[in-house]
């Protein structure tokens, strides 16, 4: 229980990219973000919902995302996250490096 490891866990370091991508579509709060990532990945990623919070703090400290306390449609106070210009630039860089990584992996794995 201490280490809730499971198959399909998000590759180390990619959670940041997933969060930036999800936020680039629309600002949202933590719960929404967790569900959005699951939904976009068609439930392929079994992200521990709580794991986004440390990541969000990390991204906020790099000023890649902004935060704001707002009311939800159900009148509940929640913290909303939005991507910043710096965040978009960073996402571009990360995305490019991710693509390179995928291409390189494919090259290796497809080798005869």
């Amino acid at each position: 229980m201490a280490n809730a490891e499971s198959t399909g866990q998000v590759l180390q370091g990619t959670l940041d990219l997933l969060i930036l991508k999800a936020l680039s579509l629309a600002p949202m709060h933590g719960w929404g973000l967790a569900h959005r990532i699951q939904e976009l990945s068609q439930d392929a990623f079994q992200v521990g919902q709580g794991s986004i919070y440390p990541a969000l703090i990390r991204l906020e400290q790099r000023r890649w995302i902004n935060t704001e306390w707002r009311s939800t449609e159900n009148n509940r106070r929640a913290k909303y996250y939005a991507i910043t210009a710096a965040g978009r630039r960073a996402m571009g860089v990360e995305l490019a490096s991710w693509r390179r990584f995928v291409v390189a992996m494919d090259l290796v794995l497809d080798a005869r």
């Binding site: 809730a4 709060h29 719960w31 919902q49 703090i57 400290q61």
Partner: protein, 892 residues
């Protein structure tokens, strides 16, 4: 990307401050998340309870993410350290009895080690002149026995004027007992004969007035100027500023006081007498009366040399230069030393001779304190294991909540280090007292001179204490911390889990057995040395208990041998008529009264022994010397007043010399030679020399005080047998002696027991240190045993209840717990006895009148440890026998 890293760093710094608020915000946010998830799940048709459970599972470990978020926000290392320290402090405060016991354990171990280190530091590590550190060197004649020989004054001047390696050279003779007379008082005061540069090298400035100049130290017998210590100024001159330009008589010559040395200046011989008067080397003839230090021949080597390396000069360069000057330096000192080398060594710690003298003692003390520290650490480890077991639920809970194992172990280690810091601080405080106690054993020597062993602590001692206490806590806390986090979570939380701790139980038993073993070793050593001390002080070979000693020094005031003999006879006559005095005897004025330290070539007539044949201890004594000291006469007669220069020369030998020269025949009536002169043996006395078990009885020869002319006798040491306590009579005796001639210094006034114990400082010190250490070891082992048994009892409460329920009697319960623990104690005692048998030989040279395998010492040590073991186990076992069965069954 770099900019964002900097921003992250800045934000982390801010995070350190804002942590509390941020955490509350994060908690609120997570809470909101969970509530939304639960609502979402209920909306999808789950029952509220199921929804809650599912939401928590989907979220993952709250505590873990909270910690990760915290790490992301601040500096994880500093942050978790601060948090750990705060948490540790809280948890230590919550269990004060554990904290006090553990702190005390560390404190005692560290205090022992640090006290000894303070002593080691003073003897071996501390620079003599801290201002110049290792740039200050001792220059000395390397003697074949490892000692540091002194130069002649002229040789010392040569070093000062010619050597290029040094920019400052100080010449000193620091153990000059000076007889100081003022109109108000007279007293023997320890002083030093020093060159003008001595004060500059010592890096001190006058408290008052000035020090003397090179010019004042240039013409023999011209400038009678003196510097006095602040202590002397305060006690004898009332701290009066008019002390400058006052005149005092030193050894009969008038001196002008020109300055007062600073308060914290103790001279440059850190294990010797504190000097209180300084006079220039040009006045050497006043400071030293036995030969003339200012001339080269006959040799009179009194000058010790301290020097500061010149800028750019190296130690090896100085050594090369001194070897180049060797021949001329030795020729200007003592030609008898001409084969020796001239050594240059950094002035760190005591002189090489003192270091050699203290080496054995330091090794022994170091051994004792290491054993004590080991016991303390074993005890600490045992305490921590028990505490770890007692806290296993708390720890399991934290692990279950998602804290990582490393984090929990780190938390426990922080607690250990905090304990180490607390214990170390208490230990340092205790060690200040401890080092002072050690040094205080050296305050009086066998001649009655006051010594001051300067063992003030410094940063090195403090550093040692810090490092060793933290290291002890870290080293001995690691295993318990790891063991505590290795619990089986499920079992522990369910309330069972006692099986997983069998290894730890065994480790605790083994630790206690080890403590018991070390306690036995210390107690055996303590017993052996205590019996040695009592055997020394019991005067088995002579009776010192009712003897007062004094030294008459007519030589200091210029008496000739004839006048001195008349004077001495008068003093003896007056002392003998004093009420309370039974008998007065005297002996040659060198060494101890009872333990002569001069030697002569003693042989059978007609034999020519090789030049390197061992010399025999020899002294001259008055009639009645042996009966005054209570030494048994085995045959023949004592000296009497008819043994004079005009009658046939006679001698008395001790048993060892009689056996050596005439193994089969009686010695009385035989002839032997002392320094080539034939004497007839008229008496044999018992071997009365007190010495350790490893030294055989030394042969000794005695001649009448005034019959021969080996060396004219002027000064004398008196032994006065009195009724009652000699200490009470000392002042009266001194007054009677002074009444014959008030100008003659009467010194070294002390009861003979003080002289005897002063000669066995090391044994006495080792004995009292060992008694303390043994008691401490016993105490710690007792606590260790108690702790283990109490713990075992607590763990098996339920079992005890069941046993009672099926009809066990209290006695059986007590035996059940005691049998197990006493088996381990017995193992420790056996191992300790074996170790003590092996180790006792190492201290054989300290033992007097007792064998290294002394049965009494072993029996007492084993008995004491066994008694403590029984007591330490009986109390908790007895408590177990009083457990209420019905409550015990409900336990846990």
């Amino acid at each position: 990307m770099r900019g964002s890293r900097v921003r992250e760093l800045l934000s982390r710094v801010a995070g350190l401050r804002l942590r509390g608020r941020n955490r509350a915000k994060l908690d609120e946010e997570m809470q909101a998340h969970l509530e939304m998830e639960i609502e979402h799940l209920i909306a999808h048709g789950l029952a509220p309870d199921d929804a809650r459970r599912t939401a928590l599972a989907a979220f993952g470990g709250v505590q873990r993410y909270r910690e990760e978020a915290n790490d992301a926000r601040g500096f994880p290392a500093i942050d978790s350290l601060l948090r750990n320290v705060r948490y540790a402090a809280r948890s230590l405060r919550a269990s004060p009895s554990f904290t006090v016991t553990a702190t005390l354990t560390i404190a005692l171990g560290i205090a022992a080690a640090t006290s000894v280190f303070g002593f080691v530091n003073a003897v071996f590590l501390r620079p003599l002149i801290p201002a110049y550190g290792a740039r200050v060197v001792r220059v000395f004649i390397q003697q074949s026995d490892g000692g540091d020989g002194a130069f002649g004054h002229v040789a010392a001047r040569l070093i000062a004027t010619k050597a290029k390696s040094f920019d400052l050279v100080a010449e000193h003779y620091s153990t000059a007992p000076l007889f100081v007379t003022t109109p108000e008082w007279q007293s023997e005061i320890m002083g030093a004969v020093v060159s003008a540069d001595y004060f500059r090298l010592a890096a001190i400035h006058p408290r008052l007035g000035r020090f003397f100049t090179n010019d004042e130290d240039s013409a023999p017998d011209r400038d009678a100027v003196a510097v006095i210590s602040e202590g002397l100024w305060q006690t004898r001159f009332g701290g009066d500023r008019d002390v400058l330009h006052r005149t005092i008589a030193i050894n009969g010559r008038s001196f002008e006081i020109i300055g007062v040395a600073p308060n914290d200046f103790y001279g440059v011989v850190p294990d010797q007498d504190v000097d209180h008067v300084w006079i220039p080397t040009a006045m050497f003839r006043v400071g030293y009366r036995w030969c003339d230090p200012l001339v080269v021949s006959p040799p009179c080597t009194m000058s010790q040399v301290l020097a500061r390396l010149a800028p750019g000069a190296t130690l090896s360069g100085a050594r090369a230069e001194m070897s180049a000057m060797r021949a001329s330096l030795l020729a200007l000192s003592d030609p008898a030393d001409s084969l020796q080398g001239v050594a240059v060594a950094p002035a760190i710690g005591f002189s090489p001779r003192s270091q050699a003298r203290y080496a054995d003692l330091v090794r022994l003390l170091w051994g004792i304190s290491s054993v004590l520290l080991a016991i303390a650490c074993a005890n600490l480890a045992g305490l921590l294991l028990v505490r770890g077991m007692a806290r296993r639920r708390e720890i399991a809970l934290r692990l279950a909540l998602g804290a990582s194992r490393a984090r929990v172990a780190g938390q426990l280690m922080t607690e250990n280090l905090l304990l180490g810091a607390l214990g170390g601080a208490a230990g340092v405080v205790l060690s200040i007292w401890g080092t002072a106690r050690l040094a205080s054993f050296f305050t009086i020597d066998s001649e009655g001179y006051h010594h001051f062993l300067n063992a003030r602590g410094d940063l090195r001692v403090l550093g040692f204490a810090i490092v060793s206490s933290l290291a002890a806590a870290a080293l001995f806390g690691t295993f318990p911390a790891i063991a505590a986090t290795r619990t089986n979570l499920a079992d522990t939380l369910k309330g069972g889990g006692s099986h997983s701790s069998d290894d730890q139980a065994r480790a605790r038993h083994a630790l206690v057995a080890a403590q018991v073993m070390l306690a036995v070793v210390l107690l055996v050593a303590a017993g052996l040395l205590t019996r040695s001390v009592s055997s020394i002080l019991a005067h088995q070979r002579f009776d010192a208990s009712h003897v007062a000693l004094m030294r008459l020094r007519p030589r200091l005031v210029g008496y000739a041998p004839d006048k001195a003999q008349q004077y001495l006879r008068n003093v003896v006559r007056r002392l003998e008529s004093e009420p309370g005095v039974e008998r007065v005897a005297f002996a040659r004025g060198v060494g101890y009264v009872w333990n002569p330290s001069t030697t002569a070539a003693v042989d059978l007539p007609g034999t020519t022994p090789p030049a390197d044949a061992p010399r025999t201890i020899f002294t001259t004594v008055s009639p009645g010397f042996f009966s005054t000291l209570g030494v048994r006469r085995l045959g023949g007669r004592d000296f009497n007043d008819h043994d004079a220069p005009s009658t046939p020369p006679v001698a008395i030998v001790n048993e060892a010399l009689a056996k050596k020269l005439w193994p089969r025949d009686p010695a009385v009536g035989r002839t032997m030679t002392i320094s080539g002169k034939a004497l007839t043996v008229v008496g044999v006395v018992a071997n009365y020399h007190v010495h350790s078990a490893v030294v055989p009885d030394a042969p000794m020869a005695f001649a009448p005080f005034w019959q021969n002319d080996f060396e004219p006798e002027i000064d004398a040491r008196l032994a006065i047998r009195v009724r009652g306590d000699p200490t009470a009579l000392l002042a009266t005796l001194a007054k009677v002696a002074s009444s014959v001639d008030p100008t003659v210094p009467v010194t070294e006034l002390l009861p003979m027991t003080a002289q005897v114990s002063g000669s066995f400082t090391e044994t006495r010190l080792a004995s009292s240190v060992l008694i303390g250490a043994g008691a401490l070891a016993l105490f710690l082992s007792g606590i260790g045993l108690y702790g283990v048994v109490a713990f075992v009892v607590a763990r098996r409460t339920r079992e005890v209840g069941i046993r009672f329920a099926v009809g066990a009697r209290p006695r059986e319960i007590i035996l059940l717990f005691m049998r197990q623990q006493l088996r381990w104690a017995a193992l420790g005692i056996t191992a300790g006895t074996v170790a003590a048998i092996a180790g006792a030989r190492l201290i054989a040279s300290w033992l007097v009148g007792v064998s290294a395998l002394d049965a009494t010492s072993f029996a007492v040590a084993v008995g004491a440890v066994f008694a403590v073991a029984v007591a330490g186990t009986l109390v908790p076992a007895w408590r177990a026998a009083r457990i209420d069965p019905t409550r015990a069954l409900r336990h846990e």
